[in-house]
């Protein structure tokens, strides 16, 4: 397995533009929905930013606020049914409180979204080509035939074979993977600078998933677009993202550069995610280590740390802190680029001595050595 880590080539690693400007800045975003049962606090005090040419991965289980927060970026929440506070700036322009007219200019043109279920984004009664063409004409004053030509070009671009003859097909005539690609074609027709992909591959087979991820990376290489990829698959994040944000109960609970975060996670929820999924190389005798219990209700979120009812490390924190006090989102033991929301003071040791032996015993030595080295800066394993 060590082989596995050293034997690889740096295939298609996207190189973020050094010192690039933040294209998207989300600051202290909260989204709440008043309902019959009370106020749903879907997103709480969330902050992050994405640069051009960079990919941010957002992970968390269902209901953790991933979709709600990204829909806010497109200004898709009905202001009568939701309460938004904080700030979202796209290329410097404020989204919260912006007029529908301003939002329409930004949507599709500067920011585009790829949804989990292509059937919700594609209308069953119009041909795929007509829908892509229409999306183009919203932002470009061109004739229908020009728009159709653009649609063919886009379908070709996303790898639909014989795009010319498939352009007039209806969505139901496409396979699941083709529909997903058609939707990506539609999202990209106006060359958006930021693409938000909400679980774009969850419903797909691994082979089609690989095609779609390849496609997103190609597009990023060609156009330097910023990408936010929302998923619950840590494998997808590991291969796609430059930076990872872990969400739990509507809050950011851990954030850092992908390699740093996935090799030295510092928050028990992230540990839980890593240890609960089997991978195709793990020992088959090892038992999976599930996260006990269920995700919390956002109507009545737990007091203190929202993860405390499921956290196996509560007793390592002095007093009753986990139950009474919400941990701040602060750098841990590994430097300012890696943030976590947890009261534990020595998460790296706990991870290396308690968590890692369960999930990847062969990495324990390396990680412990790394922890000792951390004062010297970036102590990564896997490079020799």
């Amino acid at each position: 397995m060590t082989d596995f880590l050293t034997d690889q080539q740096h295939a298609g690693q996207p190189t973020p533009a050094p010192g690039g400007e933040d294209f998207l800045v989300v600051e202290n975003l909260s989204v709440q929905f008043p309902t019959h049962d009370g106020l749903v606090k879907a997103v709480n005090d969330l902050s992050y930013s994405v640069k051009m040419g960079e990919t941010l991965g957002i992970v968390g289980e269902s209901g953790s606020g991933k979709s709600v927060s990204s829909m806010a970026v497109l200004g898709l929440h009905d202001i009568k049914r939701s309460r938004l506070t904080g700030s979202i700036r796209v290329d410097g322009k404020e989204i919260i409180g912006a007029s529908e007219q301003t939002l329409r200019k930004i949507r599709g043109n500067e920011v585009a979204m790829i949804f989990q279920d292509p059937l919700t984004a594609l209308h069953p009664f119009y041909s795929v080509g007509a829908q892509i063409g229409e999306a183009y004409r919203i932002h470009h004053d061109v004739s229908k035939s020009k728009a159709r030509a653009k649609a063919i070009e886009m379908l070709d671009r996303v790898g639909i074979p014989q795009a010319k003859s498939r352009v007039d097909d209806y969505p139901h005539q496409f396979s699941g993977g083709m529909r997903q690609r058609a939707m990506i074609a539609m999202a990209l027709v106006n060359d958006p600078k930021l693409i938000i992909a909400d679980e774009p591959t969850t419903a797909l087979d691994v082979t089609v998933q690989a095609q779609i991820l390849d496609l997103l990376q190609e597009l990023q290489r060609d156009f330097r677009s910023a990408i936010i990829i929302i998923t619950h698959d840590l494998g997808v994040v590991a291969e796609m993202a430059d930076e990872v944000l872990v969400m739990y109960a509507g809050r950011a609970v851990e954030q850092g550069p992908t390699r740093e975060l996935l090799t030295h996670p510092e928050m028990p929820y992230t540990w839980g995610l890593l240890s609960s999924m089997p991978d195709v190389t793990a020992s088959t005798d090892a038992r999976l280590v599930p996260i006990p219990g269920n995700p919390p209700s956002l109507l009545n979120p737990p007091t203190g740390c929202p993860f405390h009812p499921r956290c196996p490390h509560v007793d390592k924190v002095p007093g009753d802190l986990c139950r009474t006090e919400l941990p701040e989102f602060l750098p841990g033991q590994r430097g300012t680029h890696h943030l976590k929301r947890c009261h534990l003071v020595n998460p790296d040791d706990i991870y290396a001595t308690e968590v890692l032996p369960e999930i990847a015993p062969d990495l324990v030595e390396l990680t412990l050595a790394d922890n000792a080295d951390v004062a010297h800066g970036d102590g990564m394993h896997g490079e020799r």
Binding site: M1, D3, F4, L5, D7, Q8, Q9, H10, A11, G12, P14, E61, S62, P161, S175, G176, G177, M178, D205, V206, T207, V208, Q209, A210, Q211, L213, Q217, H232, D233, L234, G235, V237, A238, E239, M240, T258, R259, L262, T263, G272, L274, S275, S276, M277, P278, D279, V280, T281, A282, T284, R287, L288, V289, P290, I291, P292, N294, P295, M380, G382
Partner: protein
């Protein structure tokens, strides 16, 4: 020329010592496609399952993987007799169950139960958990009416639910808990075989592990055998000592898990495994190198001639369009259906199937040859097999060039020996 060599001294014991719990031979399910209009005639057939054979030994698990639409669920529904097979045989403990009437099937229904993918739609929302789990007990009169409630409580406890929650409704439970209710219902009759169709795919990652562990415990405790259907290759590997890969209605490779995951011999299995994103990649950065499959799965109404994978296969040669590759046994517990079966990067240049098919390199039948492919669709593994290594040596003495496919070896089978240092 190519000889079918016996790799192991034949220890042919006349009768298999242990009868498999389930034995499926040449199972087919074709769904008719009807024309629209008043007179709805059958105009085509969806070949959803087309001649699959396999065994499930008592108390173990066979995994079934493959892309959406390849026939996994249909296979599961045939075995539980939710669907009638078009042809083929299904033997449960040696008894043919493929042609039984619903009434004759009744005693077997107790033995073969199903767990469904969707914990939301597979439970009746208007029934309490007690009713849902108790119904099979009542229908099959497993325990006297007075004891049904007690048994329900026990079952809830077994699957890790609060036994006092029997009068709650499904909507009061989370997804993972609902899946547990479905499992309790399936266990009520103490079945010997559980067909689990994507039992964890609808669940959150953190909850998936809870359910997989529960199924592992149930198997240890009650000795239930599983046909475990899933598209998550890692979950299947974790749960099943033996795994079958399906493509367009056929099994293309079946093997013990170590062989299948470390040394897959079918190009499709290789592509499938190389496509799984891997968390460990984080330590390296970037994407893994992978085998890129072009295009989509063809329609099962009109599958390609010869090998069904040939429209997407980078190894395809003339013979692949002319001859369907038989599912050839190439190791003690390893069968593969590919003319050029071999480890990635080291696949033979000449077909390994010429002898059994009685054809030449281009797939044209050789006069006077005695093909034996017809007998190859037997379920289970024989004591003797075709040794591909020797075949490779024997059949390609004139091969001077390297395999035309010289892509870099992918990470398929990271313990791959010999192909890279």
């Amino acid at each position: 020329m190519t000889t079918q060599s016996e790799a192991v001294p034949t220890t042919v014991s006349a009768a298999p010592t242990e009868q498999p719990l389930l034995e499926v031979t040449n199972l087919r399910k074709y769904f008719p496609v009807k024309s629209s209009g008043l007179v709805r005639r059958t105009i085509a057939q969806v070949q959803a399952v087309d001649g699959v054979s396999f065994q499930v030994p008592a108390g173990t698990s066979l995994g079934l993987v493959g892309e959406s639409g390849c026939g996994k669920s249909t296979t599961g529904r045939l075995i539980t007799r939710l669907l009638d097979p078009t042809s083929g045989s299904m033997k449960f403990e040696g008894h043919e169950i493929g042609n039984l009437s619903p009434k004759q099937m009744l005693p077997y229904r107790k033995e073969i139960q199903m767990i469904f993918q969707d914990p939301y739609s597979s439970l009746n929302p208007r029934h309490t958990v007690g009713t849902i789990v108790g119904t099979p007990l009542r229908v099959h009169k497993v325990v006297p009416e007075k004891q049904v409630l007690n048994r329900v409580r026990e079952l809830l406890e077994v699957v890790g639910l609060n036994p006092e929650h029997y009068n709650r409704y499904p909507s009061e439970f989370s997804g993972g808990q609902r899946q547990r209710i479905g499992i309790a219902r399936a266990l009520a009759l103490q079945p010997k075989l559980l067909v689990a169709d994507e039992p964890v795919s609808a669940l959150d990652v953190s909850i998936q592990a809870q359910v997989v562990n529960l199924l592992t415990d149930l198997q240890k405790e009650f000795g239930v055998a599983f046909l475990f259907i899933a598209h998550d290759l890692a979950v299947v590997r974790h749960f099943c000592p033996e795994v079958a890969v399906m493509y367009l209605g056929k099994i293309v490779e079946i093997a013990d898990r170590e062989t299948l995951y470390n040394r897959p011999h079918h190009p499709y299995t290789q592509a499938l495994l190389s496509a799984v994103p891997d968390v460990k990649q984080a330590a390296v950065g970037g994407r893994r190198e992978r085998i890129r499959l072009e295009g989509d799965v063809p329609s099962p109404v009109n599958p390609p001639s010869g090998c069904r994978f040939r429209t997407r296969c980078w190894m395809a040669k003339d013979i692949c369009a002319k001859q369907e590759p038989p599912l050839l046994q190439i190791g003690p517990k390893h069968k593969v259906a590919c003319h050029f079966a071999g480890e990635y990067g080291a696949m033979p240049t000449s077909p390994i199937t010429l002898n059994v098919l009685g054809v030449d390199q281009e797939g044209t039948p050789v006069a006077g040859a005695t093909p034996s492919a017809e007998d190859l669709n037997e379920p289970g593994f024989a004591d003797t097999w075709t040794d591909v290594e020797t075949l490779k040596g024997n059949s390609a003495p004139m091969a001077t060039s390297l395999p035309s496919d010289s892509r870099p070896a992918s990470e398929v089978g990271s313990e791959d020996r010999g192909t890279r240092s």
